[in-house]
Symmetry: C2
Subunit: 681 residues, 2 copies
């Protein structure tokens, strides 16, 4: 019976890819703009591709090592886990690549389209973002469901077989996606902020030329960064969240000994893909309309439809009641958990928006504090960021307790899935932001009319708000998914309890709690070093290329892209390998209980730092924008200078270290789950 639904899920994934493909064709048919726009667009695309190629080369070496290890160490089924791993990694990398190619095709076309009006520009930019959104969820669900169907056919569909053979093999898929995500997120994040900070500090501060000025050698690298960090990096990141949430729910479904609950997460995710496809078609506005309303209609509409229509699916597919351990739950509970997850995700996003929007009190306070200098700007930003952790955490706590009440541990994993059910459209909105941003940059660099820049700015600012909500979804779902994976790990290694009062567990928690700080330190340090290299190069070009500052000569954009690429790739290796090595090392030396403790500690610290860094960074950014709108002295005032310092500090917080936390907590959980069979022999 549920085979049919699984095939339909495969169909939903395929449909997403077809729609993405049609959107690519549509984008390529739009006018690419004049020679200069095309040329800048080409520079950006080449830079982004050069980065991805270099990144994927490093990834391949890494993948070969992990694949070999998996195949050798996990005897028997290990070879298939390795195969899942390769497929997961390949699909995740492919999703990033497709999304980035579409984004770099859409950016200069959006700039050109902005010459014809807001409505048309929104369509081009949003279609570009939709390609990322749809190809991520399409490939993610296609690969996962496809492999599941194959393994189920080979091994069987009984509860035992699913739990002991199929799911452990399948979790290799999640590991593959996570590994790619880690490198893409960390590497892309370092690239984009190194270029951003480098371009700003020398260009804006030292040379006194505006942002996106074509005389600034780092300006192309800055725009490349938006694509590799905020499109490819984000795409792999959410692909990973998405896959991990589905796998987590499948593992806990298997723990209920009810095969239907193993398939259900896949079917729900597949249904979410269809809802997302429809949602992207609704994001339109007429000339003079409000693009924010259009984006809201698409995302909120998708959420509402998802909630309404998932009820019959759950009723139809899930058994009337199921048990986990000694407790029994009804299928309605599954639906409530899903709905709670979706609503909870939106609320966490609303909290993030409150703390970071330049229309709200916290950010205005930071702007005000800037008038007494950079020190008070930073102190107030830290204060706001720390305070902003409270509400989301309380909500997460309520969500965990509620969904557990509704449907046990399975309910918690379903809540995580609910948060991510409409990833397709969420991600489309997220990826649309950097395209609009790039379009603005291209308009500036090619000195297009002022009205063009106004339209792209408007598109960009709309994306920011929705992106804040998207970040809430990302961290909230990461926390729930990590929790579900952690429980799955415990079930797989066969522990009855993991007792925090045991010294092994508590030391694991303490050690794990430290890791996110160490990772953040490595990542923030990497941004610093890379930005430093970039600053040196930009200064060199200003000094050595005659006539550059007067606009009589072109800077060497390629060199800057190259430096950021090399620096970012080099710096992503240590944190990447560390995240993947810690679970096996701790598991083998300290035992599974200590490893369990490490996962808990890393999750707690990681969630806290992600919220703190993400929100303080966002608030600093918007406090600067608030001042630029004319408050507290406006642009060029002392308050503005202080706010620029805060914004620069916040850059690696919110765009590199913060989002990396989401991945690290899930990656470590997935690694633990995959190596679990190795630890219990």
């Amino acid at each position: 019976m549920d085979s049919l639904y699984l095939y339909l899920t495969v169909g939903a994934g395929a449909a997403a890819l077809v729609v993405a493909f049609l959107k690519i064709i549509w984008i390529n048919r739009q006018e690419p703009g004049g020679d200069r726009q095309r040329e800048i667009g080409k520079f950006i695309r080449q830079g982004a591709m050069a980065f991805l190629v270099r990144e994927y080369k490093v990834l391949i070496i890494f993948l070969v090592c992990v694949t070999t290890l998996l195949a050798v160490l996990n005897r028997g089924s290990g070879k298939l886990a390795a195969a899942s791993f390769v497929v997961g990694a390949a699909f995740s990398a492919l999703a990033g690549l497709i999304g980035m190619r579409a984004a770099t095709a859409a950016n200069h076309r959006t700039a050109h389209a902005a010459g014809r009006g807001l409505s048309y520009a929104l369509r081009v930019a949003f279609n570009g973002g939709s390609v990322t959104g749809l190809s991520v969820v399409g490939l993610g669900i296609l690969g996962l469901t496809g492999l599941f169907i194959v393994y189920r056919t080979v091994f069987g569909t009984s509860a035992d077989v699913l739990q002991e053979t199929v799911i452990p093999i399948l979790s290799g898929y999640s590991l593959g996606a996570s590994s790619v995500a880690l490198f893409a997120r960390v590497g892309g994040g370092i690239f984009t902020k190194a270029a951003d900070v480098g371009a700003d500090l020398v260009g804006k501060v030292e040379a006194g030329i505006p942002e996106d000025d074509p005389r600034n050698p780092a300006t192309i690298a800055d725009n490349v960064g938006d694509n590799v960090g905020d499109v490819a990096g984000l795409g792999s990141d959410l692909c990973e969240s998405y896959v991990a949430a589905v796998i987590g729910a499948m593992v806990l479904g298997a723990a209920t000994r009810t095969p239907a609950l193993v398939s259900l997460p896949l079917v729900l995710a597949g249904f979410g893909v269809l809802v997302s496809i429809v949602g992207t078609l609704f994001v339109r506005t007429r000339e003079g309309g409000n693009p924010q309303a259009a984006l809201n209609l698409g995302t909120m509409g998708a959420a509402v439809v998802m909630i309404l229509l998932s009820y019959p699916i759950v009723r139809f597919l899930a058994p009337r009641s199921f048990s986990h351990g000694s407790a029994t739950y009804g299928s309605d509970g599954i639906f409530y958990s899903l709905a709670a997850g979706l609503v909870g995700g939106i609320l966490i996003g609303v909290f993030a928006e409150y703390y970071t929007s330049n229309r709200r009190k916290p950010t205005k306070r930071i702007a005000k504090a800037s008038s007494t200098g950079a020190a008070t700007n930073i102190i107030t930003g830290v204060e706001v960021g720390m305070q902003s952790t409270a509400l989301p955490v309380i909500l997460l706590v309520a969500l965990i307790l509620l969904s557990h009440l509704f449907a046990g541990l399975y309910g918690i994993s379903i809540a995580a899935l609910g948060m991510l059910a409409t990833t397709g459209i969420q991600l489309a909105v997220d990826a649309y932001g950097p395209i609009a941003d790039n379009a603005g940059g291209i308009a500036e660099m090619t000195r297009m009319e002022h009205s063009v820049r106004e339209i792209t700015d408007r598109l960009d600012s709309v994306g920011n708000t929705t992106a804040a909500i998207g970040k809430g979804f990302a961290i909230g779902s990461a926390a729930l998914t990590a929790l579900a994976l952690f429980v799955a790990f415990k079930e797989t290694v066969g522990l009855e309890t993991i007792d925090v009062t045991s010294p092994t567990v508590i030391t694991g928690i303490i050690f794990g709690g430290m890791l996110p700080y160490l990772f953040s330190s490595l990542i923030i340090g990497a941004v610093g070093h890379s930005a430093f290299d970039m600053i040196g190069e930009v200064r060199r070009q200003f000094l050595e290329i005659p006539g550059l500052l007067e606009g009589k000569a072109d800077p060497d954009y390629v060199k800057c892209v190259d430096i950021a690429t090399r620096s970012a790739i080099r710096s992503m290796i240590v944190p990447g390998i560390l995240a993947i090595l810690v679970p096996p090392v701790v598991g083998l030396l300290g035992g599974v209980e200590m490893l369990g403790g490490v996962l808990v500690g890393t999750t707690i610290s990681g969630v806290m730092l992600a919220l703190f860094m993400g929100n303080s960074g966002g608030a600093w950014d918007n406090a600067k924008k608030h001042i630029e709108e004319g408050y507290f002295g406006g642009k060029g005032s002392l308050a503005h200078k202080a706010a620029v310092i805060g914004d620069t500090v916040g850059d690696p917080f919110k765009d590199t270290a913060g989002p990396s936390m989401d991945i690290i907590i899930k990656l470590m959980s997935v690694v633990s789950l995959v190596i679990a069979p190795l630890l219990i022999r």
Copy 2:
């Protein structure tokens, strides 16, 4: 048999108080300096006393409420727990008061003594600090041992009686000390940083007058702050650590059903008091000698003596072997745990010194990053601070595992005690720092000869290094003590395990992990608001008092002290009440398992933030000092301006929010332990 040792322990406490008293007499006999020095000294003392009086008034209201609650809610033995609570609070408050009076008597005498030479000035300042150190440990151990003897005599000495009646009553003492410590640390910390930031931002940055200039109206408040924050606040803080560590060990000793192991922590602590007394007598140097060597001789000598002589004590008092649960340990294990704790504490201090000393690479990197502006200074400081968490955490993990291996859970609590065994001399060195600092301020304000300031600066800089090590002890012991108290809590409420995979526990951990961020946010915010009030007042005085900036008129010092006092007292209430209310509220609504989770989460996040904020703050401070020594452009350069911003950001980190974490994690554990009987009915 062990009664004799308990009386000897009381004797050790009394001896410490006698020596402290003699030192006070000696200090008061030294020449108080000229009229101007005496006058400034009087201003500082009056300001400090005014603050303490106001603080203690608020405290009394709070204490009356808690006492009533304890007596009413914990029926039966609750009245005695309330009595212990009152004694603990009174003794802790008294220790802070005595220490502060001695410090404010010693500061201007040190300034005057510096006119006669380094050796004499060191003696005056160090004797001032010793009064704090000795009265804290003297009162702490005297009260605790005295009450123990009384309760033991009343109720009996069997293992059952100790575990079920005596220890729960006695832990009220620790709660009293903790409550006072929280308000003293948070209130004092807010006062000192508000005054510091206010004095710096208007005086140094706006008016361009040097630090400690008598024309600056906030300069007296700044010096008052050193006394109320770094002497009285620190004194209550360490008194609390000390008492909590002893109580924690006693609870776990009771859990082994071996009465001798209940008394042993008291006796070891009493012995540590004696060693500390002797240690203070060794801190001397001849003219031209090295004050650092003198302090090292005192602290390290005391540590070595403590380790060597505790062996026979343990051998003599502890049984050959004892069991906890199913495991059996030898008495040698207790000694090893104690020694490991002491060595571990020193190592954590050494790590802190590495990350914050201006002679080491991390701080030099921050100084270098200052030359590209405030943003890179802040980013690098955050990076260093986050990285600095790794080594201490790894060491803590090793220490917990080792001491558990040596002597079970009891071993962990003994390791915490080992770290704090020589608190008397450690604290003497810590409290000596602000006295030397104050002396320098008085020398500057009264325009004494340059050579005087040179000597006080030298004394001050020596104290900084040793204080860094002291901070390591404080946070390391707080972590271990919180852990011991947490285990004690679990034993008291009678839980077999606290399973992290249960949703109740994990949500408790997540919620608890958020609390230190919320507290830090409240505390950092309070410093910001209070500094803002201070800035307004200083600006007003510069504007409204004619001839002030020309040095023809005196500023209104009292008004500034008053503003800082009012602001600090007001702001300490919310975080204080929150810390105390969370455990009962969670325990009653969510149950003991969730409360256990909250304690774990708070401890992890609290330790991490304490290390991060303490070390980044210290590193920013010393990066500025490094630049002031002439590197990267020296004083007045752009790098220096950037470093001043970093230092200002670091001030509330390292001196207010960071140290408050130590208390909050212990306070919440102690509150939970005290209310435990209420939760299991």
